[in-house]
Symmetry: C2
Amino acid sequence: MSNNRLVRFIKRPAGKPTPDIFEIDEEPLRELGPGEFLARNCYLSMDPALVGRMRDESNYAGQVNPGDTMQAYGISQVIASRNSKVKVGTVLLGLCGMQQYIISDDSDGFSKINLGLADATAYLSAVGITGATAYFGLLDIGKPRAGETLLISAGASSVGSITAQIGKSLGLRTVAIVSSDDKAEQVKRDWGYDAAVSYRGKSIEQLSADLAEACPHGVDIYYDNTSGDISEAVLDHFNDHARHVVIGRLGISHLNNTRDDTGRRDNNTILAKRIRKQGMVLLDYKPKMRAAVLQLAKWLRQGDIQVQQDVLEGIDRCPEAFFRMLSGDSQGKQLVKLADINPAADPTPLWPGRLLTQRWFPTDKLAQLLAR
Amino acid sequence: MSNNRLVRFIKRPAGKPTPDIFEIDEEPLRELGPGEFLARNCYLSMDPALVGRMRDESNYAGQVNPGDTMQAYGISQVIASRNSKVKVGTVLLGLCGMQQYIISDDSDGFSKINLGLADATAYLSAVGITGATAYFGLLDIGKPRAGETLLISAGASSVGSITAQIGKSLGLRTVAIVSSDDKAEQVKRDWGYDAAVSYRGKSIEQLSADLAEACPHGVDIYYDNTSGDISEAVLDHFNDHARHVVIGRLGISHLNNTRDDTGRRDNNTILAKRIRKQGMVLLDYKPKMRAAVLQLAKWLRQGDIQVQQDVLEGIDRCPEAFFRMLSGDSQGKQLVKLADINPAADPTPLWPGRLLTQRWFPTDKLAQLLAR
């Protein structure tokens, strides 16, 4: 048996994570015990939410502790199994860790994915958590009607870009808030935004003025990935009966100390404009997830949704990929490829296979990760 | 013909209104012109929203100007008519003014009321704007389920007390936020609140601690009549999927300068708890108003809803009643009685009369008044 090369988390970051929190290591793969299976990790997903797991919070089961293999979600293919529920060749989605192989006895902690519906890596973006977050936030909370204006903060993000493309295919006018003028041009080109506004270096008043120009008919749906000052500038532009979908990413770091999140209250605007402001956590949508993924896969096949992937190769490049993602330099969804998937070995029937009638996506853990 | 005694608005208040803004006056009633009708005002309603009309805001058609008869909504009975749409004896709801008689040619500005459904004065509270605000805010936005906790700020107000009683009859646990400990005791006695908390003199943290005790199972619906610091203390106590109904009364004065309304942002809590926060303006519910009033009248007849009225008699006591209302000293809905209604003279068929199939309640103007 070969060795398992991995990224070890060696110390908690003081403030922003720095490269010295990781160390590349290698250890021999042990024999499988009863009920265990061994899977080869093929793709790992670099997610901002992983930072939250590095913090020292007692009682939080999901945290990663110094000495542990660094956590990461990914796609893995089973190569040996002593678990009757997990067949060799099966392709799984779950918490694989930043390592070449994973040994587990927790078949419930992983979801089988169906390669007939979409490519494996799509399960880490458009037909995964990212796509579902866009889908439910926009459709279930946003309740879009053709011709309305959809404003998206962090409009260049994975969630933002998919939300914009869904919106576009539904006949909405789409407007992005992004971090720079260059990015504003880029998102119009790449994701079909009708307009885009940069927030960097602007006061709330300046951003508000730019939004007025970008949204001449006001804002009907605000897909809010950021909260904070950016959202404050949006307050001025809501139409009557607008929907403010709170997805939150940046603000999320304040979750344990919400008193820090200060600024203008929005009750007056919410009342005068009869706005519906509502939080969205993917975990709540488990019962509807299957339908969403089918629709997302369909849009993806039709080209209505496109995704950019930024793929580095090899386990040793995980730290580089991780910090690339954190710094915002990734050109699309940041992945690390460790091995090829072998679709021929997958015993799972392809589309429209039986997996569509099984519990298969996503696990609670996966959804909770997003919510942090 | 007799004289018309009235309250004249003689100068705009500098800051809080003071008694010297009013003057009692009297003028002869003139003859009716073609299309006009004359009605005797029977009950006048003292409403906080009238203060907003005293301000000097150009372009606001509803404002009252120095020299005008002071505005007030009320119940009036037609005693002479040269308008084919308005029969003598008809009982009307509308902007009657603080005066004994009103002459108008605007039959659309008034709504006929049906004395078979409820007493005339009930149309100024439980089956009027107040009741409908409680009804739609709680039912349509709050979406209550039996056993949930309903928290109401300004819990002793007309809207608050009716909301609480509707909630109680639907099997909710009801908790009030009020201005003093005495009032806390009183609202438990009068409106059946399960618990009540006073905010006066307390920090946000103290109020939050008291709310924790009053709402041991958290808050599922927050019927928010106040906004501001009180709402901030409530943030800590929302349950997952709570509904925050923004009715707004105090905060409403900031409508033209929302940047003044500062404090903690609630996006983090809205996201983590998946709260739905939504503004309610009665004007939006015109198509559903008839059903609401029928239900409210039914609750009133059954005793599920009770209203307290604080009635002073005579036109000369209008200023006293107005400031009594403003100071919070009124024991229930503040009315001024000017004359008896004569139900026998009313040509309107009683319940279930044809009026229920007519446009009859409320006028746009009436609803807008509430929204200010």
